[in-house]
Amino acid sequence: MNKQVELKNKRIIASKHVKLGQKNKMNQTYTDINDIFYNSEQTPNFLTGSEVIREAIKRASVGTSVAYPITPQSEAAALIGEIYAEGYLDEYFRGESEFAVMGQCAGASFGGHRVFTTTAGPGTLRAMENFPMWAGSRLPIQVCVTCRGINSPLSIQPDTLEMHYLLETGMLVWHAETAQDLYDFILKGFIVAEQPDVHVPIAVCCDGFFVTHTKDTVDLSPLDKCLTPYDPYRNPQPVMDMETAPIRMMRDPFVMKSNYISYATHASWQQEIKAAVERSRKHTIPLLDGLIDEENIDREILIVGSGTAVSQSREAIRLLEEEGIKVGLVKIKTIRPFPYEEIRQATKNAKHIFVPEFNVAGWLAREIKANIPDNERVYVGPHVAGGMTMPSEVIVEEIKKHLGMEVASRGTLG
């Protein structure tokens, strides 16, 4: 399952969709995902992350979006309401809590719509029971998670701890570094999640505030091209619309049976969800150009990270380079499926591996430690939490300290 997929000449089979080339009511043309990104002119725009979410959804042929206010995703959810009013989506409303919203999303997906929603921090945890249910029901819903703290006392600051909770839900979990990633991942995420051999939900995560509330230059695909719509009948499960025969699903409901067949059924279903997540690799690799990005991985010191920790690391690497310390970089784009083999390969020459993270748990470092040989090479950190920023200088300092180098006192730093 960890076999690497060759990139050359591979293109996702996005669409032999009947609607390909037709126009929707907003006069957008249903276009293959590859043509949207690789055969169309991309125009730079200066936008906040929330506005980027709106722009992606304008081009995503979404059926239903359900909204609920929580900082920092409220703005994105409200902006989707505005484009609904303009006619871009078929259905949009505000639910009463994240738990209910994820249920409403599930209902819409069971009924055959492409569904998008957003959440953050405590909302993600309030909704949590729904995520394994989505996966188990094979609903390819997309939730954009704009990560924020989940601790008490109340925090609304950026923190990626909630992603740790998403790892074993059976969802695809992708982590955007920048607003550009966010735009690309949202559109590409629908197509990967909806492949019949995948067909599981996807969480497209980004670091709240850093990505959602700052402006960045983002290349947008043309507004007159949109994704081919979701075809609910390319689905490993029957759509709940009474348009297919109502089969009797089982002779006895498994929930009440304490016997081997019952256990085996549940166990194999869990394994099937895991396998479906792994099967997404072959669709994801050509679209995202690999599950990881690599820079100078032949170096002895490597930083491996995801999200905005990668951006901070790039600057740290530049600062270290000025001092003659050469450091390579691995950016992880998909946390589920986890790029085990890619990371093993990318880190095989490294003597020191640093994993900077915006959370107290260091979950990414744990994942890496659990999957590479000689894992004493992995240094769990630096990590910050509770909304703290991670200045590049902190990464520099931590690396130098760990390597036994002279570190300037904090007072004289940068």
């Binding site: 249920g103 055959g112 009797r248």
Partner: protein
Amino acid sequence: MSKEKIVLCEDLADVMPPEYQELVETATYGNQDRGWKDIGSSKELIEQHSLCAGCPESIAFRYILASLPAPENTVFVGSTGCTSLVFPHVAVHNIHSLFGNQNAIASGLKRTLACRFPDIEKDVVVLAGDGATVDIGLDMTMQSWFRQEKFTTICFDNELYANTGGQESGLMQKGFVAKMAPKGKSFEKVRLAEIAREAGCAYVAVLTVSKPNRVEQVIKNAVLVAREIGPTFVQLYTPCILEIGKQSMEGLDEMKDSESIGGRFVQKEYITDEAQKLLDSIKEETKARKKAAKDKKTVNA
């Protein structure tokens, strides 16, 4: 979905399960006058049930499925509990997702089906127990009524958590001694029908399932009003004979006792003027249709 969609391929017909063959041959799909009297003479939409012997829920299930105006275009949403043991045997699409979120699921589902099938009336019916409807799910139950979601909510009220072994629920009577209420329940049975009325349901009915013709009428009213006007709610007393210490054959008596004068389940309905008008017009139409059919028959004879 029309009945043609489930017609069997001739070559494979003999390997299909007998219950499926019967569904194709003798189901009452598309029959406008289907009702509880079809039970026993045509193919029922519930194959078997795995409930306790004599459980009133099982007969309630059969009456409801026999009374749906258009099962071929109806999707059920269930919840965790005794009902979730029956749905796998039911020949209507049905969703079980979590415990208590049934009205949230139904909200998303109904809106999506309305978008996807603008020319076909797709009915959504929620069927859940009292724990799911009133306790863990009350927020989502009521919010769907506030939002005027156009589907029917049916609550099987057995006045306790039956499936987990008889714990106290909000719809339990005051004073009843149960698990988790060792000194007797300390507060009154939640007045869900009144809550439903005030929360915006256009049609509300409370009754037992002792009389099938009454159940049929109520279910038809609830589904048809939900189609045209807004949310509807039906609360059916389906006593858990096991947990209240009755024998298998005593369920019917229990229901009859509780609906007699002064009982907890004397039949009542709350109908908005708009809903009443609709029901009157449907009654007129049905009468006219039946009369026309009878006249035609007489002429042909």
